[in-house]
């Protein structure tokens, strides 16, 4: 027990550096991904059939492909098409693409949950299509989408662990490095797991509390 604690104290700084990389990648890919999700959500609702079909195809492909394959595609696959990305850039690109595909459904559900009367009222007072969206539909729809978007962001943070497969120096890569050098795999992965739990457990509890609080204001 004492051994494990001193082992942890020795390697904790290295793992924390990895955790920093995980957090950075998550914080870069989540906003890009949610923006993509908004674009996809609007694309699916578009009146132009080809644009709609293209968006559905991209979203379904993005949701149907394992994140690991997306990461490896971005890191190992794109160079053969003439685009070489660093492991950071590849991780952010892949996680953002996956986030975009998943959150487009969340955002679409949010936009559809805005009562139709809001849109009718916006048309009645003569707002242009762009203003209807920007000032009436989006502010209300996105508010509805906030709790599930936060919930999904926790999953994206967990997804950064797959950066291990493309040599991203995040938490798991560092833990694996320590494990394969010291052969103490068990304690180092337990510590890595605890670090993930230390962030994700409070975040999950907060999101579910927020969900409950917001649902008070929704008429059912």
């Amino acid at each position: 027990m004492i051994d494990t604690l001193s082992f942890w104290r020795e390697w904790l700084p290295l793992l924390l550096e990895g955790l920093k990389v995980s957090v950075e990648v998550a914080f870069a890919s989540i906003p890009i991904g949610i923006f993509l999700g908004l674009v996809f959500a609007l694309g699916i609702q578009s009146k132009s059939k080809p644009l709609q079909a293209l968006t559905v195809f991209v979203v379904e492909l993005g949701r149907g492909t394992p994140v690991l394959i997306l990461l490896q595609f971005a890191y190992f696959g794109l160079p053969s098409a003439g685009l070489a990305l660093s492991s950071y850039a590849a991780a952010v690109a892949a996680l953002a693409a996956s986030t975009g595909a998943y959150t487009s459904e969340i955002i679409r559900a949010g936009l559809e949950a805005v009562p139709y009367g809001q849109k009718e009222a916006a048309i009645a007072i003569g707002l242009s299509r762009r203003d209807q969206l920007r000032d009436i539909i989006l502010p209300q729809g996105l508010r509805i989408a906030v709790p599930p978007l936060l919930g999904f962001s926790i999953l994206v943070f967990q997804g950064t662990s797959l950066g291990f497969a493309i040599a991203l120096p995040e938490l798991i890569s560092r833990a694996y490095f320590v494990g394969s050098n010291t052969f103490h795999y068990m304690p180092i992965f337990v510590l890595a797991g605890l670090l993930f739990a230390a962030i994700c457990v409070p975040a999950t509890l907060l999101v579910s509390r927020l969900e409950k609080r917001l649902s008070r204001y929704t008429a059912s």
């Binding site: 492909t65 490896q72 595609f73 794109l78 694996y176 795999y185 797991g193």
Partner: protein
């Protein structure tokens, strides 16, 4: 290219086997965890909550490495496939416990009241009244989870299970190409999950009608 394609397909049976076994383990173990989660005794309830939170908050790769390298390098040696089944199975159990809980919460309280009023004992109330209806409401979410699980089994390639993602990477390294190989891999995963998605939609439409309101 045609030969390459077959070598990726060679991973499909393992991907499917891993998904089915992990799901079976999870669907069965999810049950006692759900019941513990609902227990009246606080320590029992907290144990189940802790289990669910741990397996849902710590990424799958950590559990697979912990089981394969951590446990496997000790006295018991575990094959990559068995480690993956255990790891993904436990993650599924935690998620299934939550799905069962949601299904139970969605049932009409009148079903419990009627069963109690008829003098049906707790065991039979669950076996004959609650659980059959619960499973119907749980099925759509369970299938959705299974589709996610199918994709997560790709993580098992990192501990050496020779499923689709493993074959794809081996092929990409052998041929020094990647672009089209990874696209094929993506399409294979989409193709395997399509039948599940159809089942989910069918289940959602038909089974929900067979739950008392």
């Amino acid at each position: 290219m045609a030969g390459n394609f077959w070598s990726i397909l060679a991973g499909v049976p393992l991907t499917i086997a891993l998904t089915f076994l992990a799901f079976a383990v999870g669907a069965i173990f999810g049950f006692p965890i759900w019941m513990m989660r609902m227990a009246k005794t606080r320590p029992v309830r907290l144990t189940a909550t802790g289990f669910i939170l741990a397996f849902r908050s710590i990424p799958p790769i950590v559990w697979l490495f912990l089981i394969f390298f951590g446990v496997g390098s000790g006295d018991i040696s575990l094959s990559p496939f068995i480690s993956a089944v255990i790891g993904m199975g436990l993650i599924t159990a935690a998620n299934m416990a939550e799905i069962y809980r949601g299904a139970y919460a969605g049932l009409d309280i009148g079903q419990t009241e009627a069963a109690t009023a008829l003098g049906i004992r707790t065991y039979h109330r669950f076996r004959d009244v609650i659980v059959p209806q619960m499973l119907r409401t749980a099925l759509p979410s369970a299938v959705t989870f299974a589709i996610g699980l199918l994709k997560d089994t790709s993580i098992a390639s990192l501990i050496g299970v020779q499923e689709v993602a493993f074959q794809v990477n081996a092929l990409a390294q052998r041929t020094f190409t990647g672009f089209d190989i990874y696209v094929i891999a993506a399409l294979i995963y989409v193709a395997i999950s399509l039948p599940f998605a159809v089942i989910a939609r069918w289940a959602d439409l038909t089974l929900r009608l067979r739950v008392a309101r």
